[in-house]
């Protein structure tokens, strides 16, 4: 049986992985809330951030904090561009078209990354400040493992304040409820949707940078799996619900680490767990653990 310190180590790992899923999941859930669209390209937006940060440090010799902030801003711009280019022209098209457009955008970003940055994995810049370990009793844990959840919670608090207590947030909530009516009431729908994408992409960017620090190898297809898992986290938590996305992220992150830790013989199936979990949730509680039942309109 596992002793308490190993358990603690797995738990902290799970929490930090869960926070990363949560940050990316918020972007999915916000976009789904407003446009009823699975933004398949979100995982690739997350991947692009790591490259922006990489080139900021490696090519332009910027200090890491400047490079990271620039990467976050660029990613927000990329998210807005994505919405304007791939989703806005199809806003009133059948849902299936928008989804295909999302899949197309995702593949376009991945292949562009292969062409522009090369298919070979690159080493993400390290930040020495975050890399040293702290000794807690018999366990030594990297500082980064603590920094990730703290940063996540800070951004989450900021986001919830923005959504619930500012004018922009009110507009976002109105657009999410019904964008046509919101438009009639004087909300600038296009601007609000752009802002939603910008914020979602920024959070994915923060997640991407921390992902790069934790798993310092970046490649054009690195965003696919985290992206899908973050989406699953969003569904588990009840899509459209920000707190739900965070809860879902933690459940998925901790669950994944714990299952591999307790049943090492199943570690080959690690990537399948998330999907099995997703399917079980979809079949038994399609609106997620926080979601309420939506009546179908005819």
């Amino acid at each position: 049986m596992m002793d308490i310190s190993t358990f603690f180590q797995h738990l902290t790992n799970g929490i930090s992985l869960g926070s990363l899923y949560a940050l990316v999941a918020i972007g999915y859930t916000m976009v789904y809330g407003t446009l009823r669209l699975i933004n398949f390209a979100h995982g690739d937006v997350f991947m692009m951030t790591t490259y922006f940060a990489f080139y900021g440090v490696a090519t332009f010799m910027l200090p890491w904090y400047v490079s990271f902030i620039l990467a976050i801003i660029l990613t927000a711009a990329l998210g807005m561009l994505l919405e304007i280019g791939a989703y806005r022209p199809l806003r009133d098209a059948p849902k299936i078209s928008i989804m295909i457009s999302a899949i197309g955008a995702s593949f376009l970003l991945e292949n562009l990354a292969v062409v522009l940055f090369g298919g070979r994995p690159k080493a993400f810049p390290t930040v020495n400040l975050l890399m040293d370990s702290i000794q807690l009793g018999s366990v030594s844990i990297q500082k980064l493992t603590f920094v990730i959840p703290v940063v996540t919670i800070l951004f989450l608090v900021g986001l919830l304040y923005l959504i619930n207590h500012t004018k922009t947030g009110m507009a976002m909530r109105a657009v999410a409820k019904d964008y046509e009516t919101a438009g009639i009431m004087g909300v600038n729908v296009n601007k609000t949707i752009s802002q939603t994408f910008a914020i979602g992409s920024m959070l994915a960017a923060v997640g991407g940078i921390m992902w790069g620090l934790k798993f310092p190898q970046i490649a054009p297809l690195m965003g696919v799996m985290p992206g899908l898992k973050a989406f699953i986290a969003a569904v588990i938590g009840g899509i459209g619900n920000i707190k739900g996305a965070v809860i879902g992220g933690f459940i998925l992150g901790i669950g994944e680490i714990m299952i591999v830790a307790f049943l090492p013989s199943l570690s080959g199936y690690r990537d399948a767990f998330a999907f099995i979990f997703l399917i079980v949730i979809l079949l038994f509680k399609p609106t997620g653990i926080t979601g309420e039942k939506i009546a179908e309109k005819v």
Binding site: P89, K95, G104, L108, N111, G119, V224, F231, A272, L283
Partner: protein
């Protein structure tokens, strides 16, 4: 008129056979391979179009069904010696290591297995709608892939299977493609097909007309999975080697591109675009290689070809929503209407 059309169809089929015969005699192996791929993609495209285009179920699980078909066919046709060479890490599971069936039977069993998997996945998942269905089927395909990566004693895991007998030739691929076209064509024009289309147009209206949603959705899904399995089996025996990485989401994306370009809900559109995409993929290979124009050497950028394809998908979705054919079909009637516009008074035919 009806006899005339039947005659034309027979002539067209004969011309196709002569074409295949001519190709078999004259073309080199590279061109033959492309033609084979075209026919296989016709099968795959049609099977996906049945689910996505005709029945309106947005399913992204195609790669999984293909994997089931490809592995079944490969395992059932590989000779014992090759199996022994492949499974050097872990010996193959007992009855499978000496099991053989003829290629045709192997393809059929592969298709049936894929159909069964399709049924098992479809029965629970088809309660979901739209994007939830898409993500669930994507998840199932991914689970199939992960399971295949881990079943070392059956699938040889991540190493894949090498030396699959290359039994599929142009007669097989075009033959299977033709059977698929005829089968799906008559299915679509039957009462089942009308029910599928009714479900695509409006589920609630279809249900209130007495169409059993569950039964028809599962039927379309299972038949689609069957043909995807057959297509996967053909693909495996054409390639000669398969491994789990081949059956990633990217493969589904390729087929999606075919049905989008051809038109969701058009059989002839799918056929045309399967040829366009497959030949296009090969023709654009120069983008990945370095070019020499005069003294100037332009280094090839590997991956540029895929950028072109992704951009193509985006352009089609954004600007030509209906693809080449939309939901129309190429039929003799339409052809007559286009070229033989004789006025009625001069003995022309009413449409």
């Amino acid at each position: 008129m009806k006899q005339k059309k039947t005659l034309l169809t027979v002539i067209a089929i004969l011309v196709l056979f002569l074409g295949v015969f001519w190709a078999d005699q004259t073309l080199d192996s590279y061109k033959m391979r492309i033609l084979n791929l075209c026919a296989i993609y016709v099968v795959l495209g049609l099977s996906m179009n049945l689910i996505n285009g005709f029945t309106g179920l947005f399913s992204l699980g195609h790669a999984g069904f293909m994997a089931v078909g490809a592995y079944t066919t490969a395992i059932l046709t590989m000779p014992d010696v090759v199996k022994g060479q492949n499974f050097f890490m872990v010996p193959m599971m007992k009855p499978l290591d000496t099991m053989h069936v003829p290629f045709f039977l192997a393809l059929l069993i592969g298709g049936i297995f894929a159909g069964v998997v399709g049924y098992l996945i479809g029965a629970p998942a088809l309660r979901l709608r739209g994007d939830y269905l898409a993500i669930a089927t994507l998840g199932f395909a991914e689970i199939i892939r992960v399971v295949f990566t881990n079943l070392q004693s059956i699938t040889n895991g991540a190493l894949g299977l090498k030396g699959i007998p290359e039994s599929s030739n142009i007669w097989w691929t075009f033959g299977v493609a033709m059977v698929t076209v005829l089968f799906i064509g008559s299915l679509i024009n039957s009462s089942y097909g009308r029910a599928f289309k009714a479900i695509r147009e409006d589920e609630i209206a279809a249900e209130s007309m007495g169409i059993s949603l569950f039964k028809h959705k599962v039927l379309a899904f299972t038949i689609g999975a069957f043909f995807a399995g057959v297509g996967g089996g053909l693909l495996g025996s054409l390639m000669g080697t398969i491994d789990p990485l081949m059956f990633r989401f990217f493969l589904t994306f390729n087929i999606l591109l075919i049905i989008i370009l051809g038109g969701m809900g058009s059989i002839t559109g799918t056929i045309i675009s399967a040829f366009i995409i497959t030949i296009g993929t090969e023709a654009l290979r120069f983008l990945d290689e370095s070019m020499t124009i005069g003294n100037l050497v332009i280094p090839g950028i590997s991956g540029l070809r895929m950028v072109v394809f992704s951009a193509l998908l985006m352009i089609v979705v954004l600007f030509f929503n209906r693809g080449i054919m939309g939901t129309n079909e190429f039929t003799w009637d339409r052809l007559f209407a286009k070229f033989g516009k004789k006025p009625l008074v001069k003995g022309g035919n009413k449409q």
